[in-house]
Amino acid sequence: MSRINDVGGMYGFGQIVAEQDEPPFHADWEAHVFALNSTLVRQGVYQIDEFRDAVERLPPGQYLASSYYQRWFLAIRALLIEKGVFTEEELDDLRDG
């Protein structure tokens, strides 16, 4: 059974948009999500294959509606909740910040 990430050969995604002189990251938060993931894997909080799985099992609608690093953030968030590091309430309660 394939997941939403398995798009090879699928029709309908349209033209490829290549950005000229694209920077490595488009915002600081993207760069930080990238670095956070490396850090959490190196700390042993989760493994890289668990991270890939967490991206691939995002709900299909959410997967397609999210940018690349938004998917990463959602995957990290889901893993931290599943591993019991934080509760959903802790991660989503931004009133303190």
């Binding site: 090879g8 309908g12 995604f13 490595p24 700390q43 397609l64 690349y68 889901a78 934080f86």
Partner: protein, 196 residues
């Protein structure tokens, strides 16, 4: 999986997550920026370009590169280690009759150590879905028109194995030194979506 229903801007959510991880001692303040700087400093298409320039100027190196790339790139002090897991590397060389192009249909697998961060188009559903079905048309959209008799091979990278393309050496470069040749090699050339 927990549902995600937050409306907060993602930058604020990432900052909040970082603060929580710092409080928990899982992230050291300032360490993320150091991690990033170190990564961007060592991972660049200039690495892939050095490999190609050596392969163009040293046929023995080129032949060994196609047979056992991870061992052979060590001769240039390059490595597929240093990431989150050790990856195999397969190098594929273009010829007059065969062109190679790389994709990761499932996500974004890419030889980061040798090419630096991947461009957004490489990670897009459009590229991932289409290049395996209509590579010639996709290359045309990149402005790269291959002669009809040239066969295209598409390599689908995965978690364990990454791919790098050795483009055809451009005509008229016989007298250039290795470093000058390396300067001609582009990231898209190393992916296979552009000639050099």
């Amino acid at each position: 999986m927990s549902g995600d229903h937050s409306d907060a801007p993602i930058a604020a959510r990432v900052r909040h997550l970082e603060r929580l991880l710092e409080e928990r001692g899982l992230v050291i303040p300032g360490a993320l920026d150091e991690t990033l700087a170190a990564y961007l400093n060592r991972a660049s298409p200039a690495n892939g370009a050095r490999i190609v320039a050596r392969a163009w100027t040293d046929p023995d190196f080129g032949a060994r590169l196609l047979a056992d790339a991870p061992a052979v790139i060590a001769e240039l002090d390059l490595s597929m280690r240093g990431g989150l897991q050790v990856q195999d590397l397969q190098v594929v060389a273009n010829t007059d009759r065969e062109h190679n192009v790389v994709v990761c249909t499932l996500c974004s697998c890419y030889p980061l150590a040798l090419l630096g961060p991947s461009p957004t188009w490489y990670k897009s559903e459009s590229y991932r879905s289409r290049v395996v079905r209509e590579p010639r048309e996709v290359l045309r959209e990149f402005g790269f028109e291959l002669r009809p008799e040239v066969e295209i091979k598409v390599w689908d990278a995965n978690a364990e194995t990454r791919y790098l393309v050795v483009p055809n050496r451009p005509p008229g470069t016989e007298n250039l030194a290795e470093e000058q040749l390396a300067a001609l090699v582009t990231r898209n050339g190393l992916i296979g979506t552009a000639p050099v």
